[in-house]
Amino acid sequence: MKLHEYQAKEFFKRFGIPVPEGKVTRSGDEALAAARELKGPPWVVKAQVHAGGRGKGGGVKVAGSIEDVKEAASAILGTPLVTKQTGPDGRKVHQVLVEEGVQIDREFYLAVVIDRAKAMPVVIFSQAGGMEIEEVAVRTPELVLRQFVDPVAGWMSYQARTLAYGLDPLPDSDTLKDIMAVMGKLYRAFVSLDCSLAEINPLVITEQGKVIAVDAKINIDDNALPRQKELRAFDDPKEKDPLDVKAEQYNLNYIRLSGNIGAMVNGAGLAMATMDVIKLAGAEPANFLDVGGGASEEMVTRGLEIILEDENVKAILINIFGGILRCDVLARGVLAAAEKTAIRVPLIVRLEGTNVEEGRKILQESKLKFMVAKDMAEAAAMVTEQVKKSA
């Protein structure tokens, strides 16, 4: 789960990480009122969307007057923001953060993530702040410093020193202390909030010598949400595709894609492989949908409904390898969906595994029109045929 910048900054404050004073607003007038209460000029108006690259996409504007704040906020709120992470249609902006402007002297990058291969948290620090860290890592790897954290010992002062004394030129000793303090606090926030990412880019030294987190990014480990009850309230469904939100309600792993062959599969690996099969057959998958190893009839029905709501879908491939999920349960779920919603596109069904005979029988005895594939190879061939027909 992703947090908005303004939400992440609220948490930063709680953990003692300095951030610019600011206020989140939903209209030009609100933004203007907010600016009046904040120190300035200048002020900064920042689009609050779950996508990176906001600056380049025009989602961050510096305003020299109160009127400029209103104008900038109105402009950002009125047009979809297109960044390299939003896709060509962009993302509608519902909120902007108005902040006091900060005079920047130096910019750094600071983040905590979990390193998969080492199975340890790692604090990443770079004096090439404000840029994308992946690019920095490729071009100037020597500028990206890392400290792995022993989960038993936790974050240690020596690690902060090792990172901070890597700066060139070295800031004065008070500023160094402030930077090291932010490292410790960010690590504490990362652990306390069960983050998968806690990032400050840039962490700056102002012209006045203060250390401030100008940006803030927090992603929460979805698996930890059951014990991070407070954080669940920060989820913003407006940032997601409506079909994704609907799928979440039914505990379905669904991701909408841009193709036209819908797919319903049990198991994430098989679902990905089925998408690849669709591609290999000359089509593009319309979605990823894993109904899960132990899906109920209800979940199968909901899954099929969600696929059918996507207007791009021209055919559906159901691929089930029954282990825990029994094929007869799947078949009944498909029929229940067909009763509620007219299935307007060709349906290709491939069933294998537990109770496969019963599942096939249920489908064959129904009025539902569908094609049965005996294996993956045949299913792929049927997809190709459908693609040709619709071409």
Binding site: I133, N223, A224, G267, A268
Partner: protein
């Protein structure tokens, strides 16, 4: 032979009185697995399918001599259960549970460093040595004893592959689902090292997916040290970046973990990568015909 588990393996099911735990205890018993004990705190004295229940793994080891565990404990308590089994010296720990927070697994990984236990999973189907035993939730009937080893990050995709292998006459020595999470107990290389020394295993099928770099690391190891034929399949060539594809570990982030990069790394290491899932069984057969030697 086979690796890690065989007909002599004595299994304890942690979380045996839960719905999943009880159901799969029955399934394992049906397959012939020696499920010797179950553990659910506070339920000592009960039994599930005739299997005695204890309060702690300590008791299960003491009274039933268990040497493997299958964990069905809910996500927020599963790390604790894995550590309990490891602290009692249980040799093979299979953690089926999906949804364990990553920081919990960081602690588990640190805990296991100085201990002898082998952790398979979490978020996995488990391990099966066909005809001998299964410790996990995979459908037993699709497997058949033979000479191909299987290592996979997936569940149902593994069933698909195994079914095709069996269909073309290739039995399996041991099949391991290593799990779909970003932090897992053991990875491809750990099991390849065991397959290397297993006389029953003539070749290995490696099933990877997007996210992380375990496939790239395996490619490097295979090229340097693994003498038996390997054929790989990578799921997720059409997966978009920055989206978690069901498995917590299946995510392309920061441009890393793409299927194409993994396929390239494997091929550059001289490993055959099958592209067509529908014909995977045939592809493996073409590479490992000789492995069908004792298949009946």
């Amino acid at each position: 032979m086979s690796i890690l588990v065989d007909e002599k393996t004595r299994v304890v099911v942690q979380g045996i009185t839960g719905r999943e735990g009880a159901f799969h205890t029955m399934q394992m018993l049906k397959y012939g697995t020696l499920v010797a004990a179950g553990v659910t705190p506070g339920k000592r004295g009960q039994n599930v399918e005739g299997v005695p229940v204890y309060n702690t793994v300590h008791e299960a080891v003491k009274y039933e001599g268990v040497n493997a565990s299958c964990v069905f404990v809910p996500p927020l308590f599963a790390a604790d259960a894995v550590m309990e089994a490891a602290s009692e010296g249980v040799g093979v720990i299979v953690c089926i549970t999906e949804g364990i927070p990553a920081m919990d697994m960081v602690k588990v990984a640190a805990f296991l460093k100085d201990r002898q236990s082998v952790l398979i999973g979490p978020n996995c189907p488990g391990i099966i040595s066909p005809g001998k035993t299964k410790v996990g939730i995979m459908p037993g009937h699709i497997h058949k004893p033979g000479n191909v080893g299987v290592i996979s990050r997936s569940g149902t995709l593994t069933y698909e592959v195994v079914d095709q292998l069996t269909g073309v006459g290739l039995g399996q020595s041991t099949c391991i689902g290593i799990g779909g999470d970003s932090i897992i107990g053991t990875t491809f290389i750990d099991h390849l090292m065991l397959f290397k020394d297993d006389p029953q295993t003539d070749g290995v099928v490696l099933i990877g997916e997007i996210g992380g770099s375990a496939e790239e690391e395996a490619a490097e190891y295979i090229q340097a040290e693994f003498p038996k034929p390997v054929i790989a399949f990578i799921a997720g060539q059409t997966a978009p970046p920055d989206k978690r594809m069901g498995h917590a570990g299946a995510i392309i982030s920061g441009g890393k973990g793409k299927a194409q990069d993994k396929i390239r790394a494997l091929e550059e290491a001289g490993i055959t990568v099958a592209r067509n899932l529908g014909r995977l069984g045939e592809s493996v057969f073409a590479v490992m015909k000789h492995a069908a030697r004792s298949a009946t």
